[in-house]
């Protein structure tokens, strides 16, 4: 299936979840937060949260600012 991760199209397995999305970008699991279709997915639910075709995944972290 195809999901959008931070605005870019990615091909993931049909049973992929949030952890697979993080893995696809080679990201660490600390210091980041995930929203799927505009809703925050708490870290404790990453493993249990699956993605659907066309899902919009946003993965954010802290950068210099303010």
């Amino acid at each position: 299936m195809v999901v959008w991760i931070n605005g870019e199209q990615r091909e993931l397995a049909s049973d992929a979840g949030v952890l697979d999305a993080l893995g696809a970008l080679g990201l660490p699991r600390t210091g980041v937060a995930v929203a799927v279709d505009g809703e925050v997915v708490p870290k404790a639910r990453w493993a249990a949260t699956s993605l659907s075709d066309g899902a919009r995944v946003e993965i954010l972290t802290a950068v210099q600012g303010g």
Binding site: G7, L27, G31, A33, V40, V63
Partner: protein, 268 residues
Amino acid sequence: MTLTGQPRQDAAHHLEQEALVVAGRPISSRLIMGTGGAANLEILERALIASGTALTTVAMRRVDAAAGTGVLDLLRRLEIEVLPNTAGCRTAAEAVLTARLAREALETDLVKLEVVADERTLLPDPIELLDAAEQLVDDGFTVLPYTNDDPVLARRLEQVGCAAVMPLGAPIGTGLGIRNPHNIAMIVEQAGVPVVLDAGIGTASEAAQAMELGCDAVLLATAVTRAGDPELMARAMRLAVEAGRAARGAGRIPKRYWAQASSPDLDA
């Protein structure tokens, strides 16, 4: 306001009185720093150390695996508490989502709430700001809103449960100083929560002025990070905040129209 005004009893008690307290948590420096604008992390590190800050803002953005999380590592190493902001958000909905993501990523309930109206002014949108503040307070956040220098809006933000109010001196990044000192003084006069002068500071005298007006702290970034010598300016800001705070506490003399001799008369 966090000071009780009681006489000093001992050094520890004095220090306790001196600390800025936001939502029950003491913050050991009254200079809150931003991290935006620094040319690199090495310069930022030297400036943060020189500033003596204990609380520093970061922004939330899409991860870039190549860029890493250098700023977070730096703040952890320096034992500076992280204050995530919602910079770039234009609506209450965007700001609330960004704050929730920051809470997840950084494991803090502190948020510097920014909801700006347009790129040209970067002025807060008061309607979206108040809406977002109310939602975030209800969701358990400790909300520090970046607000206009409007005493009425500041009061409304406090009424919905914000832990501080952070009025601007001038638009973000302008370095124009405190354009309406009287409004800042009115905000201070009525506030029951700490007042943090946020944005517009260009140089040390303006940071001192904010504290002389009765602000509890100053938040700045550009004035330091884009200064010719960020480390030296950070030190200047630290001293200015301390000096302004002491002057406020000391009580300045009234202004007079005519001279008043400070030496005795010759024939006395």
